[in-house]
């Protein structure tokens, strides 16, 4: 198949082809060694493109079947699941592709960055340890993933939050750029004594420095003796002096005092490991020019160091700074990983997460979500399936034009998914009559044209959105919308019971099951019962906890059957009871006193999409 690709040096143009999504496009592979060069190219490609597609390769995504995002998850539980996965697993590849759509032509510049959380600064960051799911690693191996390249040469990174900590912990001097305002409080006696002592020391030292620079014939011994007596040191080629301080107050005093001196002194803060300041270092420059030169030097050193600290995060920062819309396939999972690895620890709830994320990435498109605009809730879970789905139903030819660097290793074909996402997105744009051309003309258009689609997180949480495009989602045989409160979780039944068997067991057990209801298994330990009539779920829960339970339902309960409402499930997720099977988690959650009930249930009447194919969803991987 690869032989079909006409090879050119700069650009590979792939003609429309019936098997387009199976073609192997060339993607620029980036490791530690070529990171700096690639970063430069990436920057220019980014600024000339309209969109950025991203696709992530993680070491895993769930530890047990029920930890996967399922159709019965409401936004909160979905976020909690994504949060857990993002915290546990590691990102090994980050494919980024700036691209432009003009008509049916897509110009894409794919990059695939190999990452490894190496502790390059020896400070226990970015990650102490991470989990791996063997099935993920095996699948990656089957695709020819080079683990050695990744672990030996992967690019490291620090999140924004970690960067702040790292700077403090490394204890490098911090240049003080702004002279602080003089403190309003009147100085105490101790303060005055401290200031006077430091002042005289600095005066003395300055004078001695001036003397010694005039007397160049000093012997080495005399020089070192003088250094010892004066407490002077060298900072690079310039003389400097360290003033120990005990508090931030004293730092302030020293800085104020230095302001009174001539301008040839530059102050640097020496931080402690704990985050405070242990000393102020005063560096003597020979002239104004020398001072500005020194300040520039300091800035360069800092820049250089920051670059080293940030590592791959530079790419994220560039994307964020460009404010380009980001296209992803599985945005909740992807962006929770991006947030936790490159921005900071994930917030405790979805709303805070969205706020924090929006500051970094204002426009996010989820192709999965856009797919739903075309075929509402079609069960298309991966990108190739979505592409073929569209291909079979619509005629929307897309030309892909891929640029890549001159150096291309033929064997490296990782990061194809990101191109498929570009492709799919372009197709969807043309089908949904979104004209990306308009985006270039004015920024306002982005919001007006794409607003309905640009916030996939929001629309899945629902109620306000539903009024706009709701109503059409109830199909006769297919999925239908069900309120969370109609769901009841059931566990404690016999092993190896199928959903059908369980349903027939329940059917005759009590009156509440005389109306229509549905049963499906979440994992082998737990099932969900969906009541299609209002209030029946509550009635069932009441019966389960009442004394007057009778008949075969009583029999089932005495065998260990238990039931709980959706709130218990939410609580299990938010309390972090991620047991291997849902039954034990629900057991734990229902044993924990309910402290969320007031805040949770009534304010957010959340809904989930009930899908008859749920069992199949869970099974396939």
């Amino acid at each position: 198949m690869a032989a079909l690709i006409p090879r050119r040096l700069i650009c590979t143009k792939i003609s429309r082809n019936s098997h387009q999504h199976q073609l192997r496009w060339s993607v620029r592979q980036v490791t530690k060694s070529n990171f700096n060069d690639s970063l430069h190219d990436f920057h220019s490609h980014l600024s000339s493109s309209d969109f950025v597609a991203v696709s992530l390769q993680n070491t895993g995504s769930f530890s047990a079947a029920w930890h996967r995002l399922s159709s019965f998850d409401c936004p909160e539980t979905a976020y909690l699941k994504a949060q857990r996965a993002a915290d546990r697993f590691q990102l090994l590849q980050f494919a980024v592709c700036p691209f432009t759509i003009s008509g049916s032509k897509v110009t894409a510049h794919p990059y695939n960055f190999h990452l490894f959380p190496r502790d390059e600064l020896n400070i226990g960051m970015p990650s102490y340890s991470f989990s791996c799911q063997t099935s993920y690693l095996t699948a990656m191996a089957q695709q020819g993933f080079d683990f050695n390249a990744c672990i030996y040469d992967g690019i490291s990174y620090l999140s924004r939050a970690q960067e702040l900590v790292a700077k403090v912990r490394m204890g490098n001097p911090i240049a003080i750029h702004h002279v602080m305002k003089p403190s309003s409080t009147s100085p105490s006696v101790a303060d005055t004594i401290f200031v006077e002592r430091v002042k005289s020391r600095i005066k003395h030292w300055k004078k001695a420095c001036a003397d010694s620079s005039s007397r160049k014939t000093d012997e080495a011994l005399v020089k070192s003796l003088r250094k010892l007596v004066l407490g002077g040191e060298q900072y690079g080629s310039r003389p400097c002096m360290t003033i120990d301080v005990c508090s931030e107050r004293q730092v302030q005093l020293v800085l104020e005092m230095l302001g009174e001196f001539s301008d040839d002194l530059v102050a640097l803060k020496i931080p402690t490991k704990g985050g405070g300041t242990q000393a102020v270092r005063v560096v003597l420059t020979s002239s104004m020019e020398d001072k500005s030169l020194f300040e520039r030097e300091l800035q360069n050193v800092e820049e250089e160091q920051n670059k080293k600290i940030r590592g791959f995060r530079e790419v994220i920062d560039l994307i964020s700074a460009s404010q380009k819309p980001v296209v992803s396939h599985n945005s909740l999972n992807d962006f929770s990983v991006i947030h936790s690895k490159f921005i900071g620890p994930l917030p405790v709830n979805m709303d805070e997460f969205l706020c924090s994320l929006r500051l970094v990435f204002p426009h996010v498109f989820d192709v999965n979500h856009l797919m739903k605009e075309i075929g509402p809730l079609e069960n298309v879970t991966n990108v190739p399936a979505a592409i073929s789905y569209l291909k079979n139903r619509f005629f929307a030819p897309i030309d892909m034009e891929i640029s890549h660097g001159a150096l291309l290793n033929e064997g490296k074909i990782h990061g194809q998914t990101v191109l498929r996402i570009c492709h799919l997105f372009a197709k969807l744009c043309s089908l949904l009559r979104i004209t990306p051309g308009a985006i270039q003309s004015s920024d306002d258009n982005i919001t007006s044209l794409l607003d309905g689609y640009a916030n996939p997180f929001k629309s899945c949480s629902g109620s306000s959105q539903e009024s706009v495009d709701g109503g059409i989602r109830i199909w006769t045989k297919g999925p239908r919308k069900v309120g969370c409160k109609h769901l009841v979780f059931l566990w404690g039944f016999r092993d190896s019971l199928s959903a059908g068997m369980l349903k027939s067991l329940l059917q005759g057990s009590h009156d509440v099951f005389s109306e229509e209801f549905d049963v499906c298994l979440v994992d082998k330990s737990c099932a969900i019962v969906v009541f299609l009539q209002p209030n029946l779920s509550q009635a069932f829960l009441d019966i389960m906890s009442s004394e007057g339970i009778s008949g075969s339902l009583r029999e089932l309960v005495s065998e260990g059957l238990r039931a709980a409402g959706y709130e218990t499930y939410k609580r299990a997720c938010s309390l972090g009871y991620w047991e291997a099977d849902l039954a034990s988690s629900l057991d734990k959650a229902s044993a924990t006193p309910d402290c969320f009930s007031q805040s949770g249930s009534e304010t957010n009447p959340s809904e989930v999409y009930w899908c008859n194919d749920l069992m199949i969803n869970l099974g396939d991987l």
Binding site: Y128, S129, Q133, T134, T138, N148
Partner: protein
């Protein structure tokens, strides 16, 4: 896919030539000849079966087998590292946590056998790449393991081949998993069997509602009866051309199945297949519907049987076939565990270096889940491996060896290069001249060498080889005559080795030794490891655990806070666990309760006095928790591993701020400790010798005063060493 490391083939050929040259003029060869290096035996999925056969004979002939493991990490959180304040049971919990969370990715096995003719040991170093692939779908959680970033980086530094491991590593099933797999595959089969016989609900009634179904079943009935009639006719008339029937329908193909004519069904949907099955059941007594699981895919067949008894026979045959293939599948999936079973069943002496973690990994990966207590663990290990010897114990137990090691570290590589210089460096060291070096000849496949050194440190196979060499050298130092003790049993029975047999360091930091035979803890031998700094015995009932205090508080400030409140001599020492937690050891057990009560009452009242109270600095932020030592155990037992101790305590579900133990519980625990300490009173001097983990972490002025300059430097050096080894 061609990304796996190419083992240097050229070097291999070269070394082969060299070894041949070496052996042809064996009598004249000198030490100066270049040391032949060839890689040790790497075993992956592709050569596992053949390697296992060879290994079986090597192990059978071996006098002892050295092992070593490489894992994906050691500690799941900084506070899970080994501390001097760890009680015996906590130390086991830490080992357990490590073995449960991390994966074994390389397993070195090196059988050693004494060749009395050559007066040399023959070693067969094997390096197994192991990877826990899920080859048989089992219920339960997905396979998952933790990687410690620093460990991965460390392995990468030594050129560990992750591709070989993940792409080609040998998978395994533990004994428990094997049973589970067998149960599961059996039940799967039984379902099928039921399907093919007559009594499953689902196949019982496929209601023929659709016209298409009715037409299809009619057609199938006709088609099958035609086929059967034809067979019967052929039988009476003898062979005839079958062409006509074959091109009638491509979906049917006449084949032979177990010596019987059969129709292979191709290109039907599962619904259609179930209809066919129903037709056969209803209308054809002499046809059997069989689902045959081949190598890669399963095949649907309709088989013709002569009689009812022939039919039963066929069902039986299919059943056996299935059973065999299941067994083969499981046998293959057991994979690397065959090596462990081999080591266990051959009852050989197992030699490791500081191998408690290795043994714990072997237990958790290949035998079953680790038990909750050290005692149960030990008895289980002892059952499977009755004779384990730890070279680190041997090296530290013997004064003369200690001196010969020049008190240098007893790490494997330094012991190897000091004790076996001829193997390690290819020359005779001057120190060694009085003590002859035990000769070790290495055999890898066809290649052999008497001064082999692949030099690939931290490769499990090579580390196992080094361990074995060190052991052989120590044995010769103990004047063990290999000539006499040429059999494994005799080596195990040797009384000089007996007293070190089955002793392992539960924690090297504290010199705590566990006896695998009894489960009791033993103190380190008197006079061993002189470097070890002596701490006063730690009384766990005097310890309070404090966490969640403001992160800027240094241990010295905390000490000050408490001393101001409870008296200047109230605190014996403070040990910093991580930035969020400390242990405080009080001088008296009563002070624990005093402190906890005081803390609680301060938290309850918020008047001016409590704000001015010296302890308020510690309680600042309102998130400071305190509890007695038992809580530490509860937290360590949890399967969760948060990075910081304070977060861990929260994740474990600790809601209270101060835990006041009911007095009777305290009483009981004191009894326990008393009992433990009494048991140790035989050698009070040597009990609880401990070591500083980080110099700045320990505020310990009483003992600091007594320290000589040398001791301080020693301890600092050690701190450095520990840092390096733990990659802190």
């Amino acid at each position: 896919m061609n990304t796996t490391k190419q083992w240097p083939k050229r070097a291999l050929i070269l070394s082969r030539l060299l070894t041949r040259a070496f052996f042809s003029n064996n009598s004249t060869s000198t030490c100066s000849s270049p040391s032949p290096t060839f890689p040790l035996k790497h075993v992956t999925r592709s050569n596992f079966d053949s390697a296992l056969v060879e290994l079986r004979s090597h192990v059978r002939a071996a006098d002892f087998v050295a092992i070593d493991l490489e894992m994906t990490g050691v500690t799941s959180a900084p506070w899970r590292e080994s501390f001097e304040f760890d009680r015996f049971d906590i130390r086991y919990l830490k080992v357990k946590d490590s073995a449960e969370k991390f994966a074994v990715i390389q397993f070195g096995v090196c059988p050693f056998h004494w060749d009395s003719v050559k007066q040399s040991f023959i070693a067969h170093p094997h390096n197994f790449f192991v990877f826990p692939r899920q080859e048989i779908p089992l219920d339960g959680p997905s396979y998952e393991f933790l990687c410690q970033t620093t460990s991965m980086d460390f392995l990468a530094k030594y050129q560990f081949d992750f591709n070989a491991c993940i792409h080609e590593g040998v998978s395994y099933l533990s004994r428990g998993q094997e049973d589970e797999a067998r149960r599961r595959l059996k039940s799967l089969y039984e379902e099928q069997l039921v399907n093919s016989s007559h009594n499953l609900r689902e196949t019982m009634d496929v209601p023929l509602v659709r016209v298409a179904d009715v037409l299809f079943t009619e057609r199938m009935k006709k088609r099958l009866s035609e086929w059967r009639d034809e067979l019967l006719q052929n039988r009476s008339r003898g062979p005839q051309d079958q062409g006509a029937s074959n091109d009638l329908n491509q979906q049917f193909q006449t084949v032979f199945f177990k010596m019987r004519p059969a129709l292979s069904l191709n290109g039907f949907t599962s619904h259609q297949l179930s209809l066919i099955r129903m037709v056969i059941r209803k209308h054809f007594k002499d046809l059997v519907y069989v689902r045959f699981n081949g190598e890669s895919s399963s095949q649907e067949l309709v088989v013709f049987t002569d009689s009812e008894s022939d039919k039963d026979k066929l069902v039986e045959e299919v059943k056996n076939e299935h059973y065999r293939s299941t067994e083969m599948k499981i046998h293959a999936a057991v994979g690397f565990r065959h090596v462990i079973d081999l080591l266990s069943s051959e009852n050989k002496l197992i030699v490791g270096h500081n191998c408690i973690l290795d043994i714990a990994h072997i237990h958790s990966k290949f035998l079953g889940p680790l038990p909750l207590t050290a005692e149960e663990f030990v008895s289980c290990v002892n059952k499977y491996f009755p004779n384990i010897i730890d070279t680190k114990i041997l090296l530290n137990a013997d004064n003369i060896l200690q001196r010969r090691m020049k008190k240098s570290s007893t790490s494997l590589s330094s012991a190897f290069s000091l004790l076996c210089p001829e193997i390690a460096h290819g020359f005779k060291s001057k120190v060694q001249s009085s003590q002859p070096c035990v000769k070790v000849e290495v055999h890898v496949d066809e290649m052999r060498s008497s001064d082999w050194n692949s030099g690939a440190k931290h490769e499990a196979g090579y580390d196992a080889f080094m361990t074995g060499c060190v052991f052989a050298q120590v044995c010769s130092h103990l004047d063990i005559d290999f000539q006499l003790y040429s059999t494994s049993e005799n080596l195990v029975q040797n009384e000089k080795l007996q007293k070190h047999m089955n002793l392992l360091y539960l924690s090297w930091i504290n010199g705590d030794i566990i006896d695998l035979r009894t489960g009791s803890r033993t103190a380190e031998f008197l006079g061993s490891n002189i470097l070890r700094k002596r701490f006063p015995r730690i009384l766990y009932k005097n310890i309070v655990l404090i966490w969640g205090f403001p992160s800027k508080l240094k241990p010295s400030v905390i000490r000050e806070c408490i001393c101001k409140t409870l008296g200047p001599t109230s605190v014996i020492s403070i040990y910093r666990m991580d930035q969020t937690a400390v242990f405080v050891q009080f001088s008296k057990a009563e002070l624990v309760l005093d402190f906890l009560i005081l803390k609680e009452s301060l938290e309850r009242s918020d008047d001016a006095i409590s704000v001015l109270h010296p302890l308020s600095q510690l309680l600042e932020g309102g998130n400071t928790h305190a509890a007695s030592y038992e809580t530490y155990k509860d937290i360590c037992e949890s399967p969760v591993s948060e990075l910081l101790f304070a977060d861990q305590a929260e994740a474990v579900g600790i809601k209270w701020k101060t835990k006041l133990l009911p007095s009777d519980v305290v009483e009981r625990q004191e009894d326990n400790h008393f009992h433990l300490e009494n048991a140790l009173d035989h050698t009070p001097e040597t009990v609880e010798k401990s070591k500083i983990r980080k110099a700045e972490d320990v505020v310990h002025d009483s003992s600091n005063k007594q320290l000589t300059c040398d001791e301080i430097i020693d301890s600092l050096l050690k701190v450095e060493k520990i840092r390096r080894t733990t990659n802190l």
